[in-house]
Symmetry: C2
Subunit: 473 residues, 2 copies
């Protein structure tokens, strides 16, 4: 279960004041809650690519939004080779063109969209197609309505039904299955169905969360009803921090700084829950630094499946963390923004090599990634280079990254040294991939997906402009 | 159990990332957790006076720190009249002089201090005496050591032992008891004992919390061992928001704005847990707006005791909220700073009549109540009057008070109207008391508490300066 722009502070179990996620809170109580789970990127596409590949975006050539899938060793591929039936429900976001779509990357079934559901001007960009397996069944807004005025939209209901139907069918067919459930209602433009619209204390954003939480409840109830819940590994997380730039239409990153798009904790630290009765003891809370990139090797570890061949992974199995048989150990985190390593954590210490809040281009159009937060020399409006003398924070005492440690102190020296070491090791070994996709060439989007002719939804692509556009990551 | 400067975001169950409070988290799981519990004041003394009296500080003449007790209808008084044995362990902070001390206000026993444990220059101010019942047994620093360099201090251990001894003794004597447990280790200067020092991920502040949490665990274990836990109402909260001005020596207010001293949510919203097996169903989380001033009438309600005579209370019994038999209802909150009503909440809406962050005098000596937070027109450095057109926030969508509602909208009009109404009603009925105490007259402090001569700890009071000093609330 992989959410879109849901923040660390959005669930009751993570301290959300509204506390409107009873089903997710129960999932945590029946399993393990991670306090220190990190995404591979604080924006959608690279995060999803890193989740599925177990590799940092920089290694995949996948470090800006909207690029295609190179995650050939994704869980669905390996699991598929071992007899699992795989379905993705919801947002893919790893490429628009047919060769990049889920059914060409290990999934047997799909219901959902290849991209975010931004409402474009369709004369300039195509609105987002919704696929049923290999063919388009309609488009967001045209066929799957979202009413921007009322916030009404029925897609979370459809995504929940699709999940339930798949689980029930595969169980009755006695087949092992892998479900990647990726609703997108918490990404702006937000939506919720009639049953949930207006129900939350938090406005439309909260309505969307309540509806997803209810969907989680239905899925968990079905697993129990089918008597497979003890045999099913369930994992819940989100692709990046809450979109603080969306103001009251964005979620909460709890006590952390800034949000989506940034390399502060608010962008990178994610809610994460896992449940596997009999394997994962109930009621655990772990402070183990973990990565969403750990999920691929962890799933395979639980399923007793080996990776088909060696591939450099940034993730590693955290099965023993989940099983409660491992002590908390120190581990590196690398926070990239685009192709630049901005920050790194080791132990409790986090070094800022570069700081940057909101690009001037974004501010011009009303965006701000750190509304209400302003920390001198930290939330800098310009990209600022501190590689000579990194800012250093102790995330235990100072999870909000507010109080840089005095660089003249012994603590600074001791805290920074292992970070510099792991960063050097990381850089020495890293083979950067080059992005292959030109985000700003509209022709590269899929204007006429397969099946569009059957429902009269084909559009004509504009001419291709092969230039490298500015990407102000 | 009443904490000192512990913030809403400090417990695991309230989303603290370090999550180092297993005993308090269990207390919540076995009872009820409040998301919207408010103090009567965001500084120590007035908060404690309002807790015990069920009345706003403005009604008690008790609206700046360091003043004496007028809480004659405090729970210990009423309970004492009904045969309960009462003990306070820890910080009193409702007066230094003998006539204001706990044993002259309904308590039968006391071990603790009348004030905060600031380390004064003893030639100017007396250091804080520690009382055993009616007599002084020593002073903080001199006899009850706190090492400012190492952060070592043993008082939480002593306060825990005192609580355990009292509970066990009263139970064996078959007497009803009321224990007011008020450790002060989370108020700067912080301290923890050797067993806990250095154990937390959060530094000394976290060590202090871990030690208090362990104390709570011991108290709960004793109640269970004595088989009285099902017959004992346990309540946990804190007197005011975390002291954000103490930077990494202060706690966490989670997603809320600013902290102690202010009328933002970070100053006023408190963690609060209650447990009473058989009466309070386990595992409840309530969004009911509640006040610490509700505790007095609630305790009496649970104990089937009537107030001895009518007195205007700002609190009301929330027994039915705790029992889970009441739907969430709208209720007013009045946020005072000194004798000025700064803000008020009704339903989800909170109006700011005055905003003010940090007084210039405080900034000069290095204080800042909202470090890292800056919201234009909201965290104003000057006291700013918005009574003509209050700032209005929706605390459901915007718990961080970041996004004022546009005053030209219908929502503004509808949200503000009931607040203006309750404020008018409040002001019409309010009889303000005058503070009787001159905070800055050092002579009024108790330089030679009873018993000082036995231990050679008497000091000579300076001459009295009867002038009204500046109090920059
Ligand atoms: Ca996202
Ligand atoms: Ca206090």
């Amino acid at each position: 279960m992989f959410m879109d722009d849901m923040g660390w502070g959005d669930l009751g179990i993570y301290g959300n004041p509204a506390s409107e996620t009873p089903n997710l809170d129960r999932l945590a109580e029946e399993g393990i809650k991670f306090t220190d789970m990190y995404t591979g990127s604080s924006i959608c596409s690279p995060s999803r690519a890193s989740l599925l590949s177990g590799r940092l975006p920089i290694r995949n050539g996948f470090y800006s939004d909207g690029q295609f899938a190179r995650a050939s060793y994704a869980p669905q591929v390996v699991l598929g080779e071992n007899g699992y039936q795989n379905k993705i429900v919801g947002k893919w976001h790893l490429g628009h063109r047919e060769r990049y779509l889920p059914l060409n990357h290990g999934f047997h079934e799909w219901f959902g969209a290849p991209n975010c559901h931004y409402k474009y001007d369709t004369t300039v960009q195509p609105n987002i197609p919704v696929y049923k397996n290999r063919e388009m069944t309609g488009r967001y807004y045209q066929d799957y309505k979202i009413d921007h005025k009322t916030g009404l939209g029925n897609l979370t209901q459809l995504y929940t039904q699709e999940a339930l139907e798949f689980i029930e069918r595969k169980t009755k067919q006695n087949e092992n299955f892998f479900l990647y459930w990726a609703p997108d209602a918490t990404h702006t433009p937000l939506y919720a169905s009639k049953e949930f619209r207006g129900k939350s204390k938090r406005g439309l954003y909260g309505d969307a969360i309540m509806e997803i939480d209810a969907g989680v409840g239905k899925i968990m109830a079905l697993l129990k009803k089918l008597d497979i819940d003890k045999n099913t590994f369930v994992f819940f997380s989100s692709d990046n921090g809450a979109a603080t730039y969306a103001f009251t239409n964005g979620g909460s990153n709890g006590p952390f700084l800034c949000g989506k798009q940034t390399t502060f904790e608010g962008g990178y630290r994610q809610p994460a829950l896992a449940r596997f009765p009999g394997k994962i003891p109930a009621g655990q809370i772990t402070n183990q630094v973990s990565l969403l990139m750990d999920l691929l090797p962890t799933i395979l570890d639980f399923a007793d499946i080996k990776m088909p061949r060696n591939l450099t992974l940034d993730g590693q199995s955290i099965r023993n963390v989940m099983e409660g048989t491992s002590k908390v150990y120190d581990r590196g985190v690398f926070y990239y923004r685009g192709n630049a390593l901005f920050k790194s954590r080791y132990g409790f210490y986090k070094a800022h090599f570069y700081t940057w809040n909101t690009p001037a281009e974004a501010i011009k159009i009303g965006y701000h990634y750190c509304p209400g937060q302003r920390i001198e020399n930290v939330t800098t409006s310009q990209m600022t280079n501190y590689t000579d003398k990194p800012l250093l924070f102790h995330l235990g005492r100072d999870p909000g990254e507010k109080f840089p440690i005095d660089p003249t102190t012994e603590e600074y020296r001791i805290g920074l040294a292992p970070i510099l070491k792991i960063v050097q090791q990381h850089k020495d070994k890293l083979i950067k991939a080059k992005p292959e996709f030109n985000l700003c060439d509209l022709a590269i989007q899929n204007w006429a997906p397969r099946g569009c002719e059957k429902i009269n939804r084909c559009m004509k692509a504009p001419p291709s402009y092969v230039y490298k556009c500015f990407w102000p990551y």
